[in-house]
């Protein structure tokens, strides 16, 4: 998952660069800064998080000052400034979901994964955190899994267990195929 260390030189793949350039076409010519959020999302999807060298590289590509990228990446809650687990479970913790059991679900995930909010399991597979209303309050409790943002509704302790087991299994199966 983590393809780089802080010291490796970063080279964006040609595929990624094609996507970057497509995005730039959406805005007027001198407004390439508008591409910053979409590009940060693509970078995070590729590398799992946005490290400072990655942000510098993005700044380079968009001809911005590095600080312009840092200030944006730190403002928005979706950008990970340190590596999360391969699956980051983000549970809605806002009022309407709490009326129907979101806090119980978060406690259950904490116990089940045996890591605190924001920490990563020893195998690097999972981390979790509470996030604010995900615009699905009628289907709550809900969670989404970064970086794909697949969405799970009407959660119960049992459905969360099933989900975690399935993610573990899929990862194990994939690992076997590679071996």
């Amino acid at each position: 998952m983590l393809k780089i260390s802080e010291t490796d030189e970063i080279i964006f793949t040609p595929e990624l660069l094609v996507k970057f350039n497509e995005i730039l076409l959406r805005y007027p010519e001198d407004r390439q800064k508008s591409a910053l959020l979409p590009i940060l999302h693509l970078v995070q999807a590729e590398y799992g998080w946005v490290s400072s060298p990655l942000m510098d590289k993005v700044a380079d590509f968009l001809q911005l000052k590095p600080i312009e990228v840092y200030e944006v990446a730190t403002f928005y809650s979706m950008f990970f400034l340190k590596p999360p687990g391969k699956y980051m479970l983000e549970v809605c913790r806002t009022g309407p979901c709490c009326l129907i059991g979101a806090e119980t679900i978060m406690k259950h995930i904490e116990e089940r994964l045996n890591v605190k909010e924001g920490e990563v399991t020893a195998d690097g597979l999972f981390s979790w955190r509470g996030v604010e209303c995900l615009a699905a309050c009628g289907m709550g409790p809900v969670l989404q899994i970064a970086p794909e943002y697949t969405f799970y509704e009407n959660l119960t302790a049992a459905s969360v267990d099933e989900l975690i087991d399935r993610l573990r299994l899929t990862t194990a199966e994939k690992a076997q195929i590679i071996i």
């Binding site: 959406r26 007027p28 407004r31 800064k33 508008s34 591409a35 910053l36 959020l37 979409p38 940060l40 999302h41 312009e68 200030e71 944006v72 403002f75 928005y76 809650s77 979706m78 950008f79 913790r93 806002t94 009022g95 309407p96 709490c98 009326l99 129907i100 996030v131 604010e132 209303c133 995900l134 615009a135 699905a136 309050c137 009628g138 289907m139 709550g140 989404q144 794909e148 943002y149 697949t150 969405f151």
Partner: protein, 455 residues
């Protein structure tokens, strides 16, 4: 059954594809507007319909459009606000997921009316699946000649793009959204200048909610007069209500404005009544930012009449006993819910989401969160209640954007209407850690205004 204008075909299999959408009358509004109406005609029609912004503030859409400056040599922009982050609101996600072409059709008609050649749909970043749905639908519409150069041979060109946000409630505020779309932090701008004069890239810009833009489609198809026949008084047409909390059938409902609140909660056509046979304690009627009301005040006006689901009726009684329709996020609390805990939860939300530019909001939301936390966890003092009211007052009206007010109102209204429950958290701190206050008198019938006067 009330008439449905937006969700009529939502259950048709394949309605998310261009082909099926078109077969069910889709894109007729584009044909009608671009081929038979001038841009002024379209603006006039929307004005006449009485449509009011569905994003929260309720400002008349046609009027907003007519304010758009048209200086020579500058492009104009339409930006759709699909940031949907107001707790309790989930209608825009629903609409985009199931019937994306309705939004795209509305965007084409609205862009034409405003003279925009490039328009953006700003979608909150967490809605990645919805971003993919919209991008696919845009590609379909473009392949069919409804987007791009010379649409339907009319000479009108339009490019439509989807822009992801990064996870920040404040980017729903229109000037913060514009900043974010320019690739910056979502810090709201000081107004004036208003976006209609200087918005995206310092050009005239209109920002409209997803639902407002979708409503333009039936307005153009059936005419403003037909649209305005629906609803009640100045609350014309239909409204999507996101219903959540302790009800039997949570979900998104399209109502004709003017349905009694009681009917909305208890009829099987809508929420189906309370879940698990519990009793109603309170309602947040328009998203987390509007005042919370106890059961008796949300169901009836102080005159004894039924309260209705409309801009005016929900606001009746102003701050003393009213609330707002807002974005239509209807959150229902049963007798087992703790108002103190929910108020703390909302205060934490606003503190987390404050952009930090103005000190009353940045600091005040933090204080409110802290004080409410200690009340909820048994360390509160009676004086905390007045402190909270005081902080709320000092935030209100003293900030760059309305997030400050949005943070203050839920706290002030909870204390106004549920003061005894807050006091109980102080006087019975230990007990309050173990159980909830319950229903108390919040569901008792209101003393009628006339009888009080007659005595």
């Amino acid at each position: 059954m009330g008439r449905k204008l937006l969700l009529e075909n939502i259950n048709v299999p394949g309605i998310n594809t261009f082909e099926v959408y078109r077969k069910h009358g889709g894109y007729r509004a584009v044909e009608k507007a671009l081929k038979t109406m001038s841009t002024e005609d379209v603006v006039e029609e929307v004005k006449k319909s009485g449509l009011r912004g569905r994003g929260g503030a309720g400002f008349p859409t046609g009027m907003k459009w007519s304010f758009l400056a048209k200086p020579e040599g500058k492009p104009r922009y339409l930006v759709c606000n699909a940031d949907e982050s107001e707790p309790g609101t989930f209608k825009d996600r629903y609409l985009i997921t199931h019937i994306p072409h309705l939004l795209i059709e509305g965007m084409i008609v609205a862009s034409y009316a405003l003279g925009a050649k490039t328009s953006y749909i700003y979608v909150r970043g967490e809605m990645m699946p919805q971003i993919r749905i919209l991008e696919r639908a845009i590609a379909e519409a473009k392949a069919e000649g409804f987007l791009g150069k010379n649409i339907l041979g009319t000479g009108y060109d339009l490019e439509l793009y989807v822009q992801p946000g990064g996870g920040a409630y404040i980017c729903g505020e229109e000037t913060a959204l514009i900043e974010s779309l320019e690739g910056k932090r979502g810090n709201p701008r000081i107004k004036p200048p208003f976006p209609a004069i200087s918005g995206l890239y310092n050009c005239p810009t209109v920002v409209n909610n997803v639902e407002s833009i979708a409503a333009v489609v039936p307005i153009i198809n059936d005419g403003a007069d037909e649209y305005a026949k629906l609803g009640i008084g100045r609350s014309t047409g239909t409204k999507l209500i996101s219903a959540s909390g302790n009800i039997k059938n949570p979900g998104v409902y399209e109502i004709e404005l003017g349905v009694p609140v009681e009917e909305f909660i208890y009829s099987d056509e809508y929420c189906g009544g309370m879940a698990n046979g519990k009793r109603l304690k309170a309602v947040v009627a328009g998203g987390s930012s509007v005042p919370i009301l106890p059961a008796n005040l949300i169901l009836k006006l102080t005159t004894g009449e039924n309260r209705l689901m409309s801009y005016e009726s929900l606001a009746e009684g102003a701050f003393a006993s009213g609330t707002m329709l807002g974005s239509g996020g209807f959150v229902v609390f049963d007798e087992d819910q703790c108002i103190v805990r929910n108020t703390w939860n909302f205060a934490r939300f606003y503190h987390h989401e404050s952009c930090g530019q103005c000190s009353p909001c940045r600091e005040g939301t933090g204080w409110m969160e802290k004080v409410l936390h200690r009340l909820e966890y048994g360390h509160g003092k009676l004086s905390d209640l007045d402190l909270l009211v005081d902080v709320a007052k000092k935030i209100e009206g003293n900030t760059i954007c309305p997030l400050g007010d949005a943070a203050a109102w839920p706290v002030a209204s909870a204390i106004r209407h549920f003061r005894d429950e807050f006091e109980w958290h102080v006087s019975h701190a230990e007990e309050a850690m173990g159980r909830n206050y319950g229903l108390a008198h919040y569901a008792d019938p209101l003393p009628k205004a006339e009888t009080v006067a007659a005595n």
